[in-house]
Structure formats: structure tokens, C-alpha cells
Symmetry: D2
Subunit: 351 residues, 4 copies
């Protein structure tokens, strides 16, 4: 067996950090060799640091339990990949430091997503954006580099729309989200705020949903990313669901296609199939035909949480089509997205 690639997780104790710890358990290519967190946790074991706040499964994977937390300082840490699960309030300088020090920083934080030479990556959608890495390293005089994944709410619908955008072109999108509690981190949403309730506001979310797709579907011109033009309007809500964002969409296409064409385009979409990435869903977009599916609790774990689950595809009386999309927000929408990005980096020879 070849030696696995050593990786670290920055911000390992939070909700997304916990998902990284879980998803990297027995990963065939990567081995977690360091766990970074804030000074407050440093020198504690992971179990001590996370304490009773382990929330993503019944117990901490054995490999991580006794690992000592270190501060997020590139001098302290060896490894090739730094998975970034830091709070956006502190992520920026730390991620830059790691990139400078030679790490491939695979970040889930929002900080560098919209920079002109940093790829915002969904492997099935815009793998070619990795061409920017070379330029980024040169621009910044870094040994390593940063790649980012989009916001959880963005990933799942952009993945679902990708085959439609390729085949038909998309020019208008209306989206209303019903987002899960885990998207707010831990402790996140107070129970008193969500019992028998919906909270119709998530700070900053609508802006991300309206902007990130323009970069994702945009182009790398050799120098910088150029946005595409799609008119998007988003309304984001928090509902009383543990995991799994559900979104309603109405879309207008440039070129008309039948309902069957649209569904088939989604079903057959699998551009990474040949790469056999360990975290790739066998089918990136699952299209359900039942009237009342997908549902968050029933369907969020399909494809181990790495798919985009589409349902209720039907004609829209105003635009062309309407449908719903479900995704597991802390797997495909966060830690799993980053792990898949790292796998793509390796497959493309960038690590």
C-alpha cells in the first residue's frame, strides 16, 4: 500500500470540523496527522476539546479521540493538505499562512471564495477552474494555494442545474430555501427560536446564493475568473430540521427542452465517473419521481450525503420549470465538498 497523504483539519472542533473528522475516518488516500483549533483548545486531546459537543454521530472516531489539538500555526504542523473549517472571523490570515507555507488549503470558509484567482470549486461543475491554481501561486508568491467550495445552499442547486446549464442555458432562477439547523453551526440556533416556528432570515445567505453561481458557471480566462450572467433571486429560511437543506426553484432556460429532456439531462450527468474519486457519489443528481419526495429526513443520506436529490420536476406556469432540490448541508454542502475537492486535486496531480 502506498503511503497516505498527510492532512490536517483547521477548526476541527466545530460542526464542520467534526464532519471532516468523520468523513476522513479510514479515507483511502488521506490520513489525518494534525488537528488544529484555537489556543483555548491547544494541548487538549480532541475528545477533551470537543467534550459533550460531539454532535454529528454517536461517538468520535477512534483515530481522533486521543490526538492532541495544536494551534493553527503552519510552523507546528506537517502535512500536504489543510482542510479549512475555521470560523470566517479568523480564517483569512490562517489560510493564507498555510498556503504560503506550501499547503493545499481546501477551505470551506467564505473568505477567499470570490477572489479573482481562487477557484470556487464543485468538481462535477467546474473542474477546469483548477487551471487558476498555477496563476494564483505565482500572483501571491506562495508555495501552496487555496481552493474553496461554495456555501452549502449554493452547492446543491448549482450541481443540480449544471447539466441544464450545459444543455439549455439558464438565465433566471428563483429560489426559496428551507435550511437545516446544522447549517448554523453549534450551538447555533436556540431551541426557543425554532420550536413551532420558522426563522425567515439567515444573515448573508441570500447574497451568497445570488453571487456564487455566477462564478461557478463563469470562466477562467487565464488571468482571472469572469462571472456569467444569470438573474438569481433567493429567499432563505431556517426550519426545524437537523440536517438537509430543501430548496424550491423556478428556472428559465435559454433554449427550450421538454420535461423529459430536462429530467434525463440530470439523471445522466456524471462527468467525473472515470476518475473514481473515493467520495464521488455514484450518481451526482438523483431524480425522484414520487409526488412528495425528496424529504430531508428520508433522503439526505442518499449517496452517503454526497448527492443532490431532485424531485417534483414540473412545468412552471410563469417560467419554464420548477422543482425542488435537497442536499446534506454538512456533507455535500461543507466537509464532504472539501474532501471531494481535495480528491480532485490529487487526481489532477496538483498534490
Amino acid at each position: 500500500m502506498t503511503k497516505k497523504i498527510p492532512v490536517c483539519v483547521l477548526g476541527a472542533t466545530g460542526m464542520v470540523g467534526q464532519r471532516f473528522i468523520q468523513l476522513l475516518d479510514n479515507h483511502p488516500w488521506f490520513e489525518v496527522t494534525a488537528l488544529g483549533a484555537s489556543e483555548r483548545s491547544a494541548e487538549k486531546t480532541y475528545e477533551e476539546a470537543v467534550g459533550g459537543r460531539w454532535i454529528v454521530s454517536d461517538s468520535i472516531p477512534d483515530y481522533a479521540r486521543e490526538m492532541k489539538i495544536v494551534e493553527c500555526n503552519a510552523e507546528n504542523i506537517d502535512g500536504k493538505i489543510a482542510f479549512g473549517a475555521l470560523d470566517s472571523g479568523v480564517a483569512e490570515p490562517i489560510e493564507k499562512e498555510f498556503a504560503k507555507a506550501g499547503f493545499a488549503v481546501v477551505s470551506n470558509s467564505k473568505n477567499h471564495r470570490m477572489e479573482k484567482d481562487v477557484p470556487l470549486l464543485i468538481p462535477e461543475v467546474n473542474a477546469q477552474h483548477l487551471d487558476s491554481v498555477k496563476v494564483q501561486k505565482k500572483n501571491r508568491d506562495w508555495e501552496g494555494f487555496i481552493v474553496t467550495n461554495p456555501n452549502c445552499t449554493t452547492i446543491q442547486f448549482v450541481l443540480a442545474l449544471a447539466p441544464l446549464h450545459q444543455e439549455f442555458g439558464i438565465n433566471k432562477i428563483f429560489l426559496t430555501s428551507m435550511q437545516a439547523l446544522s447549517g448554523a453551526g453549534y450551538p447555533g440556533v436556540a431551541s426557543l427560536n425554532i420550536i413551532d416556528n420558522v426563522v425567515p432570515f439567515i444573515g448573508g445567505e441570500e447574497g451568497k446564493v445570488e453571487e456564487e453561481p455566477l462564478k461557478l458557471f463563469g470562466e477562467w480566462n487565464g488571468q482571472e475568473f469572469k462571472d456569467t450572467e444569470i438573474a438569481i433571486s433567493a429567499q432563505c429560511n431556517r426550519v426545524n430540521v437537523k440536517d438537509g437543506h430543501l430548496e424550491t426553484l423556478n428556472i428559465e432556460l435559454d433554449k427550450k427542452g421538454s420535461l423529459e429532456d430536462v429530467k434525463n439531462a440530470m439523471k445522466k450527468f456524471n462527468p467525473l465517473k472515470e476518475l473514481n474519486l473515493p467520495s464521488s457519489p455514484s450518481q451526482p443528481i438523483i431524480v425522484m419521481d414520487e409526488d412528495d419526495r425528496p424529504q430531508p429526513r428520508m433522503d439526505r443520506d442518499l449517496e452517503r450525503g454526497m448527492g443532490s436529490v431532485v424531485g417534483r420536476v414540473r412545468e412552471c406556469p410563469v417560467l419554464d420549470y420548477k422543482f425542488i432540490v435537497l442536499g446534506h448541508n454538512t456533507v455535500r454542502g461543507a466537509a464532504g465538498a472539501a474532501v471531494l475537492n481535495a480528491e480532485l486535486l490529487k487526481a489532477k496531480g496538483l498534490i
Copy 2:
């Protein structure tokens, strides 16, 4: 004191029937003199018939507790108004029979809503549609007549849009609803279906939302109702909330108005003010300015559940404006809507 108008409630034991019983407690104009239900309940007291299924408050109002249930048969029942809370599977012939026998049938059922000579009524929106009553009676050779209120999901947003439609004209609407459990009646939604979940489907609901506004904003031409033209696309979802439907809307106007104009039009809208109907909200449309309001649990009881609560009014990157609307689905959306309709009938001299 003048004698109160005797009224009966048809379908008194179900969820909407219970709301009628509650809202008619101490009503200044109406007195409940008969409770109608199915043969199965006949001869029981209301308390026996409802049993442990009283769900809308802590206990049955005293006046109703010992009333004997009668079958829904116009021969058995005296009174001037028949409030209809029957299941749509049985409502049609019963409501017709009561109308024939001289009752003003004020129905919450869907059965007669879209008929060409039956008003679909929201008092603040289309009171002038009552002109149809005379023709209806003549057409059908009835002593009485039927008026209906729209579906719960429709009422709250049509009320909110009415001043905008008057001032600016509306031509496109996108709506996503997050609907409360009580909208499905009792027992309704199984707890195993909704815990940690959203159900993205409510049978027949989207059709009602897309069609009823066309009649509500349409015209009575002296002979029949003529729909207006607005393109509407609805996506309806069930969420884990007891009462209060929340809806996101995107709208396009015919004539442009500023954000302030739009908000002011809603705030000042109060066409029934002079009538002083007992169940009228003092302000039919409440516009909240907080980022994260209205919320179902916090705001559904504003104006005793009779208002439409609007929030997050802002510009839409694709159409003109987007905002959210909350309404209490079994009060303003059902029993309260019907009681207000009956009050309008009395104020207009039709009872």
C-alpha cells in the same frame, strides 16, 4: 340589546369547526343555535362528540359543551347563517340544501369556490363581488345563497397584495409556502412524517393558489365572474409548525413604485374601516421592519389572527419586489375568514 342572529356550524367537530366554535364565543352579532355533524355524532353533546380531539385551545367554550349535535339537515335546523366547515367530500349537497332552504351559507369548503355565480370573498379585497348574490339566487331558484372564502394559503397573500394590485397592478407572482400542520386538519399529518423533516407536497394546494387569485382580483360583470390575468407559480410545503402559514413571494408590477411606496400602500390599506365589523383587524396588513420577522410562533396571533403580516419587503434582483407573508391559517385562513364574510353580509344588508 337587539336579538342576535341565530347561526349554525356545519361540520362542527373538525379542526375548522372547532375554530368556528371558539371565534363565535360571545360574538356580538351571532349566536350559535345549532351544531351540525355527521350521523355518527348526532345526539351526542358537543363535548362527547369532540372528546379528546379538542385541539384549538385548552377547553371547549362553555356555551357549546352541552349542545346536542344534530345531523346536517336543513329541516332539523333553524337559523339564518350556516357556517360551512364540512369536509369537501360531503359539503356540496349539504351546502346546496341549506342555501335552498333559505340560509346564507358561508362556506370554508372548496366545493363552490370557483362557480360562476358564487362569490369567493375576502371582504377587504372584493366586497363588490357580493353583487352576484342576487343573480345566484335567481339562477338557482334558492331562498338563500352561498358565499365562500378562499383557501388558507391564498387569503393571506392576496390580502397583502390587494393594495399593490390596486395601485400598481401585478402581473407575475412566484410563491413558496411553508404551511402549518393545522392546515391538514386532525389527525392530519402523522408525527413520524414531520419530525426532523419537511414534506414538499400538499395535494391540490398549488392549483388553488394559482387559480383563486384570478377570481378574487377578477370582475363580476353582472352575469358571471371573469378572471383577471396574472401569471402565478406556487410551490407548497408542510413544515413542523402548529399554526401559521409563511410564504415567500416575488412579484412583478405593471407600473413601477418605490420600495417606500409599496410598503406604504400596504400599511395604509384599510378599506373596511368605516364598517367596524367585529372581526376586522384594526390593520389588515401589518408590515414589520425587523430583518427576521414575521415568524409563525411569534406573530401569528397579531390582530387576533385576522391580519396578514408582511416582512422583509425588498427589491428583487429578477422581478420588482420580494417579501414574506404570514397568516394564521385556521383563523384568517379559514373560520375567521368565514365569520368576517358573514359580518360583511350583515353590514351590506344581505342577512
Copy 3:
């Protein structure tokens, strides 16, 4: 009209503080003249300080909205009664300072509850414990004094047991609680911890439940409080309910009484009836006969949240009787308890 007694609320912005603000709105005897909170909130209006965290009803009462918060410093504040809703981490010195300065401190905090000259008061249960106030003032050389109310979980079952203890004597109690989210304050319990879950632990709660009743049912011997002897075993759990603690109890009596005797003793218990205190429930113990009642959402607001609601009284195969008790934990269990205590102080001439 006589002038109302000026009162202040210390810790006015938290969950219990909010309930004080709500319950003192239009109080016939008391008028809120000052709102105390931490330095951080000082100089803000109450509305600014509470911001979006007002959680107990749809909106802040008008009288409080524009009041300026002051620091909890007895020199800043005039008034006769200081209602204490402070966090127990800071309550002790502040409450002492206010008592020293002449206030009747009516505290909901746990800090002084078990002191030998401080009454732990439930008006219907041990009003005679107020005899200790004179001694307390002397002991401590204070102008004012402190009275406390028990923990929310304790009050409701001690109130329900009081008539049984008087008539039959109680010597053993087993209690399991299912406690509401609001008992943990705000933000309190994280939604991710309670969705689809029960948390079988509430720090410090079981000790309070096992100790406070011994003082409540104990005696003031003119010098100090002497505990009674009852063996109590408590197990406390958090469940996904907004308000209303539900408890199961098994009890053993000294002197046997029939099931009817036991229920009647509870139903007829109303020792404060003659005092006509504004916040007194008309019936302190409501005994329900339905198999499946009381239930938190259905019954917590009976008697405006000031009663103890008992149900399922039946023989216990091991001890004498078993039954359940429900109480509104932030009304009768906290702010309402303190307001009632203050009303008793006035009725007894201690203010």
C-alpha cells in the same frame, strides 16, 4: 386611586426578566419604575437592549419599550420592591446590596434560598414563614430584606402536595420531570441538542428538587428554619417543549386516605382565597379527570399560568398514589411566583 408601589426588575433582559416585564404590565398594585441589567446594556432603551431576543410574547409591552436600562446598583434606583431575575453567578452581592438599602428583594435566583433566615416562599404553602423577615433584618442589620421562591420544578409539585401533606403527611416522593426549554433561559438549549431527542440531565436540578421541599414544608422556630423529613428522589430531563414542566410522582403517605379523599383535598385547597391577591389563581390546584391530561401545550396557561395542574391520580402498586403535575415554569415557576410573593408581602403589611 392610590398610588402604585414603585418596583424595579433586576436582570430585566433575560427570559425570566422578560416574564416579569410582561406580568407587571398593568399590575394593579405595582408600577415598574426602573429596569436593571448589566453594564453592557446600561443606557440603552429596553427595546434596544432586548433586541430580537424578546421571546415570551409577540411584542414588548409599551410601558417598557422606551425605558432606559440602568446598572443594578441600589444607588441608581428608587423603589420599594426589587424583583430579582439575575443570573445566579452575579445575583448574590447585588441582592444583598438592595436589601441593605431598604428594598424588599423578591428573588427568583437560587443564591439565598437555603439560608437559615431567608424565607423560601410559596404563598399557599408556607405564608407563615414570613415571620422570619423581622429576624433576618435584625441578623443582618438591613433596612430591607430578601424573600425567595423555589426552583420552577419544585414549586409546582410542592403546591400540589401541600394539602396532602397537611391532611395525610407525606414521607416518600419519587419524581421524574420532563422540563421545558424555557427553563434553561435564552439562548439556553441548542436546537441541535433537542430535536428528535431528550436530554436526561439538568445541572444541579435534582439536588434542588430533593432539598427545597424540606424547607418549604419545614418550620420557622423563631430563630431559623428547620427542615422537615421527607425522602425524595428526583430524575430531571429536558424535552422538546417550549413552556410547561410535566412531572410524574409516586408518593407514600403517613396516614392513609382514599383516592377520592386525595383528589378532594387537592381540589378544595385554596388557603389564600380571602386575600384576593391579584396574581392568585382562582383555584391553585386544578385536578383533571381525563386519562391523558394535563399536557404542556394544552394546559400550561390554565389560571393564567399560575396553577398547578394535576392529572392521572391513581393508586400506585408500590407506594400509595401516583399522578402527574404540570406547571408553567416561567410563570408559576419563576416570575409569577415572585410577583405573587410580593403581593403577599403587601397583604401582610411587610411593604
Copy 4:
């Protein structure tokens, strides 16, 4: 590979039936060869019959999807074991017919549990009760026989208490349960009854909890089962949790043991270890040491749902010890219990 034993599931479409279908997927010893349900479902495929009511996982196992439902009639069905998941209203004659026809009927229904020659079985607790099978067959002149498992609420705490009863003797038990929604079947509990609520009543449950342990810990005297004597008092509640019953217990022992002795007795209990039954938990009783565990959502799937998870073991101020027990009510508490019973039958040569 030896041929697997053919088994059928009676009542395959309900909640417990679904769990059987799931747990028997790829079972190493058993192969489902027939699915029985009511006449209404007969001739449909399992997928058609269950329709949108499949609730226990994301999708129906492939093996069952296309199987044709047959009526529960022993003449229609071949096989050696009949797993009984029928509603208790119809189970009795059907189970007898299958037993008469030669099946080992392994039933989850309550109907035959308390009969004098029918074993009520928890393999780790009273495997020796299978000695009764021979007598049962003779008494009733049956080719086959019936074995039953206890009620879900009973199994998990009797399993947890078994080592204590063996080592120390138990003579008193107080139990309060907080039971999951799935225990009521589907559709079961209405969402309007449980949102923001607890229902403190489950019909018939307390009687089962107070009686079944006496048989489980009792003796087979060669002719009939003789109950043991333990005084048990139960109070059963429904809480808003999908799966996993949580129970608080207070117990009195005959012979005193230290806290450590008690915990160790539970930890080391594993009487079936040598049998290597496929569904046996590797550790039947998991003892957690955290203050706030077990919790239903976090811990119900430990040992694939087949363990009894104990926590908060501590001294009781009134009796000897108090602690909590969690079990997965539709796995260890129902279908999984029956599958384990069947495995024991095979291991003992009774099939």
C-alpha cells in the same frame, strides 16, 4: 453455503413489519420467502402495498420490493418461521393457525404473551423458558408453536436489570418512560398532538410494564410459568422523539451491592456470547459514564439498535439506585427482539 431457512413476515406493511423487512435483508440464516398482510394488500407488490408509507429508512430493500403480498393464511405460505407483526386486533387466530400448521411463530404481538405455556422471551434473560415449547405443542396438539417477545418498553429495562436481579435480587421498581413516536405505529401519533407537547398516557402500556417482568424473571416449573414477585410502578409518556424509548428507574435490591458492583454487573453481562447469534449485540448492556447520556437521537443505534444503553447510575436517596435506560423501540423493542428470538430457537435446535 447451507440453504437458508425460509421465513415469512405476517403484517409486513406496518411499522414493525417494515423493521422486519429491513433487519432480515441479507440475514445469514433466514430468507424471506413470503410477505403476509391483509386482504386489502393481497396480490400487490410490497412496494405498491407500502407505497409512500415506508418510514424506517430511505428505501425498501431490493429483495422485498417486487415480492407479491399474500393473505395471512397458512395454506398459502411455505416456510419454517412466521414472524408476527400483526395488529393485536387480528393476530390471535392467525398466529394459532400458523402454529398449528407447523410454523415456529415468533410474535411481537401482545396476544399470547401472558399465556401459561407460551414463552415470553428475552434470550439473554430467560433462554431456559424455551423448555416450555415441548409442553405447549403437546397441550395444544400443534405441529409448531408460539414464542413471544415483551412489549418494547419492558424489554430494554428488564435486559438492563437482569444481571442485577441475578446477583442482588430486585424487589421494587419505579419507572417513568419517555417513549418515541414510532412505538405507536403509523400513522400513530398526530403531529398536532405532539408538537411542543408531551402526552402523558399510552393505553395499556403501564399494565404491560408492571406485569411482563414478573413472567420474564419467573420460572417454568415444567408445567406452566410462575411469576416472580417484584413490586413495579410505571408511568408512561409519549415525547417528540422519532425512535428510542428513554426510561428513568429507581430500584431496591434484596442484597446490597456497591455502585461499582452494580455497574460492573451490567457491563460484564453477556450470557449468550458463546452462541454467536447474528443479531446479538456484542455487549447487551452499554453503561455510559457521561452525565448527560444516553440520549435517544445520539445513542439509539449503538450495537445496531440491539443493546440496552444505561446511564446516570447513581445512589437513590429513597431506594438503592437510580439510573436511566435507553433502547431502540422498533429494533431491540420489537422486530429485532423477534429476530433474535428466532436465532435462539435455531441455536437451541428448535427449528
